[in-house]
């Protein structure tokens, strides 16, 4: 029974939409030290919608740039091209992540808002804690729950069983695993692997609820872990399962996190989330 379920889930993962072409090409550039602004522009040239979104994002209050940016070249200069690629990724996954998610009972747009919020909170935490996390932090946070898009339907079917398990005080993704044979972190990691995403990103998605099991410790994983719980606490993307997740005491210790840091980041996150979501008209 559980075996059939798992096979069904894996089949759904396989048929999940592939990465938009422009994003896949740009991602390859990330590993290329000789990449140039011209190359980025070349790729974006064929996608006017994407370019427009990218420039709107770049001009959002969040980045606080001193002047209006009107071209991709200018954006590369002001933000750096690694950052810029992260923003293109955001534009690319907007459509997929904006869908309603059954099982977790997230209305249309709410997973997207949650994802943007975790990105903003993660970058905020890294800054507040003065830890260096890779440029990939924004994308890792943005995609951490992508697995929910596939798993949601299956969670809905077995919601009663999963909630019974979770009501015994275990974390919701552990309950998912007990009933379905997998959970939204495994599913999400598999999707990113199929998209040929860099291992660091796959890792962050895979362990965002259980950073202590990540093999070797990774600030990126710890930060996404904490940022996710913080955003749920402040009510962004809280679904049916509520706050049924467990913060890792070791991760907070590794980060040197204090209550003040959490509250400080929370107080800034809200406005930036609204600001960034406005760019996408959601």
């Amino acid at each position: 029974m559980k075996q059939t379920k798992l096979l069904n889930i894996l089949a759904k993962v396989k048929s999940f939409p592939s990465m938009p072409e422009a994003a896949a090409k740009l991602l390859k550039l990330l590993d290329n030290p000789d990449a140039t602004a011209a190359q980025i522009e070349q790729i974006l040239r064929y996608d006017a919608g994407l370019t427009a979104n990218l420039l709107k994002l770049t001009n959002s209050v969040y980045f606080g740039l001193p002047c209006k940016v009107g071209s991709v070249t200018q954006a590369v200069v002001l933000l750096g091209w690694k950052k810029l690629i992260q923003l293109v990724m955001a534009s690319c996954v907007n459509a997929v992540m904006g869908k309603p998610v059954p099982g977790y009972d997230l209305p249309a747009g709410e997973l997207w808002r949650h994802s943007i919020a975790v990105s903003v909170a993660a970058e905020g935490l890294a800054k507040e804690l003065k830890v260096s996390a890779s440029e990939e932090i924004f994308t890792a946070a943005l995609l951490h729950d992508v697995g929910k898009l596939v798993l949601g339907g299956f969670v809905k079917e077995d919601l009663e069983k999963i909630e019974t398990e979770a009501s015994r005080g275990i974390s919701f993704e552990v309950a998912e695993h007990m009933v379905l044979g997998t959970d939204h972190t495994e599913v999400g990691a598999q999707i990113l692997k199929n998209w040929s995403f860099p291992p660091a990103l796959v890792n962050a998605v895979r362990w965002h609820h259980d950073p202590d099991s990540a093999g070797k410790t990774d600030t990126l994983v710890d930060i996404v872990h904490v940022a996710n719980i913080l955003c749920l606490m402040i009510g962004i993307g809280v679904g049916r399962e509520g706050l049924c997740y467990k913060p890792s005491p070791l991760a907070t210790k590794r980060l040197g996190l204090r209550t003040n840091d959490l509250e400080m980041v929370a107080s800034w996150t809200l406005q930036y989330v609204d600001d960034l979501c406005d760019v996408f008209g959601s």
Binding site: I234, V238, G239, L243, P247, P249, E263
Partner: protein, 157 residues
């Protein structure tokens, strides 16, 4: 009118209005109602103390319990509510699993609320506080009824 209170927000209304707030996690949802004047209001505050970010508190006092609660009462008084008649109910202040002190923002939100009410001689008439459930609160200003929906179940507060 049907008002929606978002995170770090407050709305007041009168007879025939209703107010709703979605997705309370560790935030505090507070309703205040005068059954005679049939006026009331709802606050959705995120963090306990404004001293963490005074700049934000100035721009939006409803982000914090210590600045948002007094403002909510003030607004309800302005609408004709009288202190002696007020019915006050609190919901939310949840927390994730485990005992990690750092993540007890919900707990601290509730503590600050209790302090404020106690200092002003106001009693809490009902509460649905803590736990891991997310909560949505519906507040009917004709009747003062407060309905909480959590994990797919509805109950009256």
């Amino acid at each position: 009118m049907r008002y929606v209170v978002v995170v770090a927000d407050m709305k007041v209304g009168k007879k025939e209005d209703s107010i709703v707030t979605y997705a309370l996690g560790s935030c505090l949802g507070l309703t205040v109602y005068d059954p005679v004047a049939q006026v009331g209001g709802m606050l959705h505050a995120m963090l306990p103390l404004s001293k963490i970010n005074p700049q934000k508190a100035k721009a939006n006092p409803f982000m914090f319990v210590d600045t948002g609660v007094p403002k909510l009462f003030k607004e309800v008084y302005r609408m004709g509510g009288q202190k002696a008649r007020l019915v006050v109910k609190a919901a939310g202040c949840g927390q994730p699993l485990g005992k990690n002190e750092m993540f007890k923002i919900g707990d601290r939100n509730y503590t600050i609320l209790k302090k404020l009410l106690w200092k002003n001689g106001i009693l809490l008439n009902a509460k649905d506080i803590g736990g891991t459930g997310g909560r949505t609160v519906y507040f009917d200003l004709s009747t003062g009824r407060t309905i909480i929906s959590s994990k797919g179940l509805e109950s009256e507060l």
